[in-house]
Symmetry: C2
Subunit: 313 residues, 2 copies
């Protein structure tokens, strides 16, 4: 495995965890933060983090490092303009939770970059450098985009970084990724928000006083900073609308059954079976592929089967 250097733009929860994990894996890694306070905190923790993004990107260009964009979607355009100005042909990936919108922005603003989209499926309701930790990606799925025409050399760089951080790689087309995360990540955030609002909507404080673990778990991600939730959900509008409509259809059918026969068995049993399927998917089949030889189509099929790439054959 190569030991490619890593430059992380944005050192919040995800970027900050990535700096720590890459460092722990023995990589040369440096990062940038827009916040003086965050950069100082990270340096105090012993990491190489600066507020000078241009300097970090210049260093990346010189070292042929892998640049990882770990900023929220609304901050992306500004960062991409700096990439194009300072490190135009760099190896580039990201950790943003939508993939089509990022690929479009890269094509528009940093078209010379050797970009391969990425998305580590890890997070907590906390945010910021101090919430990060070097184990955040351990055993997590890390999507590495595998659209036709992808740069397989950079794809390998990103996969190797994911493995170095303890994650498994799930290859996916950018649009298929966005549809999938709308269902399993963005919709859960909207459900959590609505559930929290319904729980707090009573005429008095009795309902919140009785809220126990089912409410606590069902609303946990509503504790996430709204700006982060809005950035990821609003950045995936079309796929999210389809997921919302699927959910509304199921809720409407459930409502009809409850009102007419009073029966909820179809809803509850289907949900239970789905949860068991998810539990089984927690331990996916691990596969290996030949470095630079597996085609994008072959890689995508691995992800569609729910399998994960854990190393080179």
């Amino acid at each position: 495995m190569t030991e490619r250097a890593v430059c992380v733009i944005g050192t919040g929860l995800i970027g900050g965890s990535l700096v720590r994990a890459a460092d722990k894996a023995g990589r040369v890694v440096w990062g940038t933060s827009a916040s003086e306070e965050t950069a100082a905190q990270a340096r105090a923790d012993g990491f190489d983090v600066t507020t000078d993004a241009d300097a970090a990107l210049r260093r990346a260009a010189e070292a042929d490092a892998l640049v990882v964009l770990a900023v929220p979607l609304p901050a992306l355009d500004g960062v991409l303009r700096r990439v194009d100005a300072v490190a135009p042909g760099c190896r580039l990936t990201d950790a943003v939770s939508v993939k089509v919108a990022v690929a479009d922005a890269v094509a528009r603003l940093a078209p010379r970059a050797r970009y391969v989209g990425g998305h580590p499926m890890a997070g907590t309701a906390e945010s910021g450098w101090s919430a990060g930790n070097g184990e955040l990606f351990t055993d997590a799925a890390w999507v590495v985009a595998a659209d036709d025409g992808v740069d397989l050399d950079v794809w390998a760089d990103v996969a190797e970084l994911a493995w170095a951080c303890g994650a498994r790689v799930v290859p996916a087309a950018a649009d298929e990724h966005d549809i999938a995360v709308a269902r399993v990540s963005h919709l859960p955030h909207l459900f959590a928000a609505v559930l929290a609002s319904v729980g707090a909507a009573g005429d008095d404080d009795l309902a919140l006083a009785l809220a126990a673990s089912s409410f606590a778990d069902g609303t946990r991600v509503a504790g996430t900073r709204p700006e982060l939730v809005l950035a990821m959900c609003e950045g995936n509008r079309d796929a999210l609308l389809a997921a919302v409509d699927d959910a509304l259809g199921r809720l409407g059918a459930m409502r009809g059954a409850l009102a007419s026969t009073g029966g909820l068995a179809a809803t509850v049993r289907a949900g239970h079976e789905a949860r068991l399927r998810w539990a089984a998917a927690r331990n996916p089949r691990r596969v290996r592929v030949r470095r630079g030889r597996a085609t994008p189509a072959e890689l995508r099929e691995i992800g569609r089967r729910g399998e994960a790439v854990v190393g080179w054959a």
Copy 2:
């Protein structure tokens, strides 16, 4: 505090935890299970559990014990007929998750019982004796019904049992309880079921492969045995319908905003604020009341304010 004996009918997760907690608190406690296997397991663990419900109820009548019904709603009628036959005037409470339906059943089938409804707000996605533990109720809210005309002596018995198990008492009218738990307990189960189904509904296994903590938490209670979820949700139909309609209204408004302006701020910010309100409610104001003197109306106001009774004044 009196040391009233306790007879627990049904030793699944809740009843089994209650047997252990009451025993740990120094109470004389015995239980019954319809299952030979469960009773044998409980006895092997050192507890007084039999399959002979009639004998357990006779003993309760002789000892003037507090009888706690900890069976699922569909099993309640059969148990109440035995109560009326063997211990007709007993002190009676329950741990069933709806209160109006239980009160109606008691009035119909065991009208001589000195019944005060109860509902400890604790649980896990597991079930059965082996899933129970004597700490399940520690720091939990335990609703003790305080409708007009309630037997304040039995109310005190139930409150003292709740305190002995480490819980705090939230007084509530039966119908107000049902409306509250529809919002904060039953609706979360239906949301979890629908969310799990949407996540598993893709054409392939990619979405489940990418499901991480937001999906895991949002669907956790879909892992509960469907029979238990159906019993509690279907037993609270009217209140649940109102909660579902509230949720559908909010989801519809959110869907409209996403489709038109693409903006989700109203939904996400309201949910975030509601979650913060819930977090604040985790540490309610603790109050004390005079034993047998606080009126049902006074007790109910405590619950409506989100406060909890933790002992006698």
